[in-house]
């Protein structure tokens, strides 16, 4: 067994909630907080904390605009976030492939 892929897994993305958020934003860019919360079934507090961690890592960017004169905030993956997420999914794929060979 090659232990490398396990230890290369990005800690920021590996947490289950953040993995779900990254996957959601990879599939649907520019979601609002409410859209994300509903898609993921997470609490406000949980979602906020994870988004903040992803922002601090430089993986998620926030855009504040106005929609029908009301403030509207959307979230998207940054180029660094897209790159890190692609790398993470590639590592998961290697881990699955190693373990499918075995079983």
């Amino acid at each position: 067994m090659n232990p490398e892929p396990f230890f290369q897994l990005d800690r920021v993305i590996h947490e289950k909630g953040r993995l779900a958020i990254m996957s959601l934003l990879a599939a649907s860019p520019l979601l609002s907080f409410t859209e994300m919360r509903e898609a993921l079934g997470m609490t406000d507090g949980n979602l906020s904390v994870h988004i903040r961690t992803l922002q601090e890592a430089g993986y998620v960017a926030v855009t504040k605009t106005f929609l029908l004169r009301k403030p509207h905030t959307t979230y998207n993956l940054t180029p660094a976030g897209q790159e890190a997420f692609k790398r993470y999914i590639d590592l998961l794929e290697q881990i699955v492939a190693q373990n499918k060979k075995v079983s």
Copy 2:
């Protein structure tokens, strides 16, 4: 995006070090502590703590025997551990498949 697979990921297995240990034992049953430590490049302390967590979850069993009159301890996945690990890898596969479709 279907958020189910993310939230179903087993917390005990999802931690990177424990995921590596489970994969190693799935591939090579009945390893000694030293063999595991060398295969994974983990410290004694780290490996001990993770093995204890996996034992407490009922996923890893310890067998104490004698080898050339010296005590010899080996580790292996229990049937529950094999089952949980298979389920975990199946979920990872779904997550990879969802995300490969997207990119």
